[in-house]
Symmetry: C2
Subunit: 146 residues, 2 copies
DNA sequence: ACACAAGTGTTGTATATACATCAAGGGGCG
DNA sequence: CGCCCCTTGATGTATATACAACACTTGTGT
C-alpha cells in the first residue's frame, strides 16, 4: 500500500483526531444524560441561556458560536419539551427566549450525571488534554468573558 | 443571574469546548476542501480506505471508530461520486470496498488544500494542543497501529 | 443437515450542524 | 413619509452521526 498522500493524512490529520475525540466525549455525556432525555448539546444550550439570561436567539449563537439555523432548531426542540419559552416573538418567530421554571429545575436535576461524564472526559483527555482544551476554547472566546 | 449549576457547566464543561473546537477545525478543512467537492469526513474515509486497502465496511468503522450505519451512508456518497467501488457485494450490500482510480487521483489532488487546512488547524490548536490531540487519539487507538 | 447464535450491511428515525434563501423588522436618509 | 439596506428568524436541503430494527451470512454444535 503506502500510497504517499494517504499515509500523510492518516499519520498527521488533526481533523480526524479532533473529530474522533469529539465523538467519544459527546458519547460520554450523551450516555450519562440519556436517562434525563437530554443531550449534551441541549444541556449546554440551556446552560448558556441560564447564564446570559433572557435574550434573543442570536445571542446564544454568538456565545456558543453556532449558526442561526442551528440555534433555531435546537431551541424548538427545547421549547416543545417545555424547558424554554419565547418571552417575545413576532410573525417571524422567537425574538427573545428564557428558561422556564421546568427548565431551571431540569438543569439542576442533571448535574450528578453531568459531573460523572465530566470526570470521565477529564480522564480520557488527561491533564494536558484538559488544559489544552480549556486554553484553546478560551482563545476562541469561550466562555464569552474569560 | 449566577444560578449555580449553570455557572459550573459554562465554566468547566469539557464537552462544549471539545465540540466548539471540533466545529471550528472541521470548518477550516471543509472550507479549504470545498472547491474539490469533498468534506474532511469524506477525505478521511477515503484515506483510511487507501491505507488499509480493499476491505469490508466494518473494517473502516473499526479504524475510524464510526458506527456501521454511518460508514454505510458515507460510503454510498463516495460510491455515487465514483471515488470508491464495491469489489464484492451480495443481497445485503457491499461486502468489500476499494478506492477507484478516480478516488486515488482525487486524494492526490486535494493534498495542497488539505495541507493548508492542517497548518491553520495547528495554529488554532497551538503546539500543546496539537501534542495533546495526537496523544489522546493515540491512546484511543488512532491510527490503528501507532 | 439443521438449527441457532453471532456478525454485518442497510434502512428508519432522530439529533447536530451548516449554507442558501426567504420573509419580516428596524434604521437611516432623502 | 417612503425607500433601501442590514439584521435576524425560519425553512429547505445536505452531510455527519448514532441507535434500533430488520435481513442475510456465516460459523458452530449436535
Amino acid at each position: 500500500m503506502t500510497e504517499v498522500p494517504v499515509d500523510e493524512i492518516v499519520r498527521d490529520c488533526l481533523a480526524v483526531r479532533v473529530r474522533l475525540i469529539g465523538r467519544a466525549v459527546t458519547a460520554l455525556y450523551d450516555g450519562a444524560l440519556e436517562p434525563h432525555g437530554l443531550t449534551v448539546a441541549q444541556v449546554n444550550l440551556l446552560a448558556a441561556l441560564g447564564k446570559v439570561g433572557p435574550c434573543p436567539p442570536s445571542k446564544l449563537g454568538e456565545v456558543l458560536q453556532l449558526e442561526r439555523s442551528t440555534v433555531s432548531r435546537n431551541l424548538n426542540l427545547l421549547q416543545n419539551r417545555g424547558w424554554i419559552e419565547a418571552v417575545a416573538s413576532d410573525a417571524k418567530g422567537m425574538r427573545e427566549v428564557a428558561l422556564t421554571r421546568a427548565g431551571q429545575t431540569k438543569i439542576r436535576s442533571v448535574m450528578p450525571e453531568w459531573r460523572q461524564a465530566q470526570r470521565q472526559a477529564a480522564q480520557l483527555l488527561g491533564a494536558p488534554g484538559v488544559a489544552a482544551v480549556q486554553e484553546v476554547a478560551s482563545n476562541m472566546g469561550y466562555p464569552p468573558d474569560a
